[in-house]
């Protein structure tokens, strides 16, 4: 029983070791071993995308709350303007970023 247990234990250990080493066995000499991470530009773009989604969701929710009667007409008129302006601002910023990155790609060849 002990021998069998040790053999099974050894088998498990070898299997785990191979699995852990797999990334190195598959790519012994990769051209690029760098782990990708978003740079400052991408992080800013992500923040803007989150801001856009947040503002759009808020606008949608405001419309629905107005329809259900939770928000009065006066409140709705007061709140909807700044939200729409915010969505437009964020969309403009994202568009500008997309354009400049396209230009960078074109310039790079």
């Amino acid at each position: 029983m002990t021998t069998l247990a040790l053999a099974l234990g050894a088998l498990l250990a070898v299997g785990c070791a191979l699995y852990v080493a797999l990334p190195f066995l598959r790519e012994p000499a990769p051209a690029d071993d760098r782990l990708g991470e978003p740079g400052p530009l991408e992080r800013r773009a992500l923040e803007l995308a989150e801001e856009r989604d947040r503002a759009l969701a808020a606008l949608k929710e405001l419309e629905f709350d107005h329809r259900t009667g939770k928000i009065s007409d006066d409140d709705y008129r007061e709140l909807v303007g700044p939200l729409r302006r915010r969505v437009a601002e964020v969309l403009r910023s994202l568009e500008l970023r997309a354009k400049s990155s396209e230009e960078r790609v074109r310039a790079a060849g």
């Binding site: 978003p38 995308a49 939770k70």
Partner: protein, 664 residues
């Protein structure tokens, strides 16, 4: 095969250490293959812990008493289901279950994160590696389930109170909850280590948190029902330190689930959310420490063990490390937006958070004070129910009210006119219910009256929300009422699933108040043929019988019950004497009225040689609403957990845009 179990645990420890060290180095130096290798180590750790668990389970099922753990927690007579549940009945098995669930969740998080291409994963792996290392270390060095001995002829058996069907599922649910809180903690710490302030960690862990919270909630209700039917004192929650240990992380996670919505919708409370995640995880560790260290005397703390100092050290390390990390990242966590009004949805969420955290910390103080008192002054002090009940009223009643106010108030700000329109119906319902209850005599308990009035307000507000939403959806799409209702929920599962959960909490509150503020208790010694009365019930003690069960001698007093002249049948209540364990258990008799939710609860306090019996009888109004609330809670959680295709598409598009930008 204890050697295989030991080898698997050592292997698991080695893999966890590798995931921690190699993962941290890879994330810091941005090495792709090493990061991938560390992730593989976490996946392999799950395989190793599963192998160890399989060895213990096999030993239990074979009654292999050469395993000390098997001999200490089972016997030849023990029925098979309880032999299986003995896996988590002792300290070593419980820790192994923790490790198994932890590595399983870790592996699932890694696999899902890889598929979605989350770059955050690089920093999450070492955090998960750290927690896994601790638990694997405990099992290898401090408290191994694979210690052996010369096999005795029979085992010591299982604590009789654990021989109950609820013990098959209550502890695993609690552990799913405790361990599940590790994932949001690991992603939150990973985001801080990577200096990420975006919402990726929240998006990734939203369902993990909800799942852990649901499991912890259901686990506590199952535990309450176990205490109700098995422990035999007539209650379901005794503010026992170990019960509180499960309640505290649940309260912290409840606060987090609410405040995280403010971060998602308004980009605020980033620091607060981080602190809540840390608090919930540390309290989950503290809960395991309380249950397993034997530091407090409790009916649930089944063991005295050497785990205490190790756990305490790890909790201190995690708390100090996490807080230091949050403080070091304060400059990048500051919100760019401010709360516009103190009368807004986000403000009500904030008030709810403050009350939840205050209640959680008050309970923590009640649990920790006796431990500190004994450690510092050598004085044994007990913090008992009146302390907790007082603070439950102080913080719980406003929390109940806020559950009704929140849905009626709009995000950003609300004017008095729209508030007046929104509040009119629910407030009217609440006042009417309060007056009717007062007329019916519910004023005997002011807490009960206030709680019921607030409950009516919350249910009115939830119902009103569903009606208004369905009406608006119907006006938009021209659907039928049922189609508009289904569409309403499908379009915002989190909001309406949340309302269903709120309805469950209200039912729970009604059940708790009814069964504690308006209950009746009577104790009486009866001889066969004698009768006692309580409320509308008349109970006649007919006879005492006994029979041999599979592993116990069962004594039962047969009691005929009548109400208003008609027979309601016979209740049997008594005691079991367990042969192998040499212990006795109370076996209560319960008659539930499913129409009114009331229970007639009969405890056989003492059986005398002359066949006379001392009965303790309780009438517990509305108590069954507590158990019903569990089903509604689960349904609401499932609605909120169910993935929304539209949301998935929106998030996928967001991160696809980002990746395209990174490639450019």
């Amino acid at each position: 095969m204890p050697e295989l179990g030991r080898a698997a645990l050592i292997l698991c420890l080695g893999l966890a250490v590798y995931a921690l060290a190699a993962g941290a180095y890879a994330a810091a130096t941005r090495r792709r293959r090493l990061a991938r290798s560390a992730q593989n180590a976490l996946l392999a750790a799950f395989g190793a812990s599963a192998a160890a668990a399989a060895v213990l389970l096999a030993a239990l099922l074979r009654n292999d008493f050469s395993f000390k753990y098997v001999a200490e927690h089972t016997s030849l007579e023990l029925p098979t289901p309880y032999t299986i549940s003995a896996f988590w009945s002792g300290q070593e098995g419980s820790l192994l279950l923790w490790l198994l669930i932890l590595t399983g969740f870790g592996a699932a998080a890694v696999a899902l994160g890889r598929r979605a291409g989350w770059d955050l994963l690089a920093w999450v792996v070492p955090v998960l590696g750290l927690v896994t290392t601790f638990f694997a270390f405990m099992l290898v060095v401090v408290s191994s389930p694979f210690d052996t001995q010369l096999a005795p002829a029979d085992g010591a058996g299982l604590n009789p109170s654990l021989q109950n069907p609820y013990m098959m599922i209550h502890p695993p649910f609690l552990y799913l909850g405790y361990v599940g809180l590790t994932i949001p903690f690991a992603f939150a710490m990973g985001a801080l280590l990577a200096r990420r302030t975006d919402e990726l960690w929240i998006v990734t862990t939203r369902r993990w948190t909800l799942f852990a919270w649901t499991a912890l909630g259901i686990g506590q209700l199952l535990g309450a029902h176990w205490a109700y039917v098995e422990v035999g004192w007539g209650g379901y929650y005794a503010w026992d330190p170990v019960e509180n240990a499960a309640l505290m992380p649940w309260l912290a996670a409840t606060a987090f689930l609410h405040s995280v919505m403010i971060q998602e919708k308004r980009g605020m409370l980033k620091v607060w959310n981080m602190l809540l995640v840390v608090l919930a995880f540390c309290l989950a560790l503290f809960g395991t420490f309380l249950t397993r260290s034997g530091i407090v005397s409790s009916i649930h703390s089944f063991t005295q063990s050497p785990l205490g100092p190790w756990f305490l050290g790890f909790i201190c390390l995690v708390t100090a490390g996490s807080l230091a990390l949050v403080i070091s990242r304060l400059p990048i966590l500051r919100a760019k937006t401010r709360m516009e009004s103190l009368v807004s949805r986000e403000a009500t969420f904030l008030y709810n958070n403050l009350l939840l955290v205050a209640l959680c910390l008050t309970i923590l103080w009640g649990v920790a004070f006796p431990i500190l008192s004994e450690a510092v002054r050598g004085e044994q002090i007990t913090v008992s129910a009146p302390y907790y009940n007082f603070f439950l009223r102080i913080f719980g009643l406003p929390l109940l009210l806020l559950m009704g106010i929140g849905p009626l108030v709009a995000w950003r700000r609300a004017s008095l006119r729209s508030l007046g329109r929104s509040f009119a119906w629910p407030a009217g319902i609440a006042v009417a219910v309060g007056l009717v209850l007062l007329a019916l005599g519910a004023g005997s308990s002011w807490v009960g009256l206030v709680a019921y009035t607030f409950s009516a307000f919350v249910l009115g507000s939830i119902g009103y929300e569903f009606v208004r939403g369905t009406r608006a959806r119907r006006a938009l799409a021209g659907d039928s009422w049922p189609a508009a209702f289904a569409e309403l929920i499908a379009r915002n599962r989190r909001r309406y699933g949340g309302y269903v959960v709120h309805a469950a909490i209200v039912l729970l509150a009604i059940g708790v108040v009814g069964s504690s503020a308006y209950d009746k208790v009577r104790e009486q010694k009866l001889r066969p043929g004698q009768t006692m009365a309580i409320g509308d019930y008349r109970l006649t003690y007919r006879a005492l019988v006994n029979r041999q069960g599979p592993n116990a001698t069962e004594y039962r007093a047969l009691v005929d019950v009548r109400r208003g002249g008609s027979s309601l049948g016979t209740i049997s209540s008594g005691k079991n004497e367990y042969r192998a364990e040499q212990q006795q258990s109370n076996e209560v008799g319960i008659r539930s009225d499913h129409l009114t939710g009331e229970d007639l609860f009969v405890i056989t306090d003492q059986i005398n040689t002359d066949q006379s019996v001392v009965f303790k009888v309780l009438v517990k109004p509305l108590v069954n609403l507590i158990w019903l609330s569990g089903f509604i809670f689960l349904a609401g959680s499932l609605i909120a957990l169910w993935p929304s295709a539209a949301e998935q598409r929106r998030l996928a598009a967001r991160y696809r845009e980002l990746r395209a930008l990174a490639r450019a």
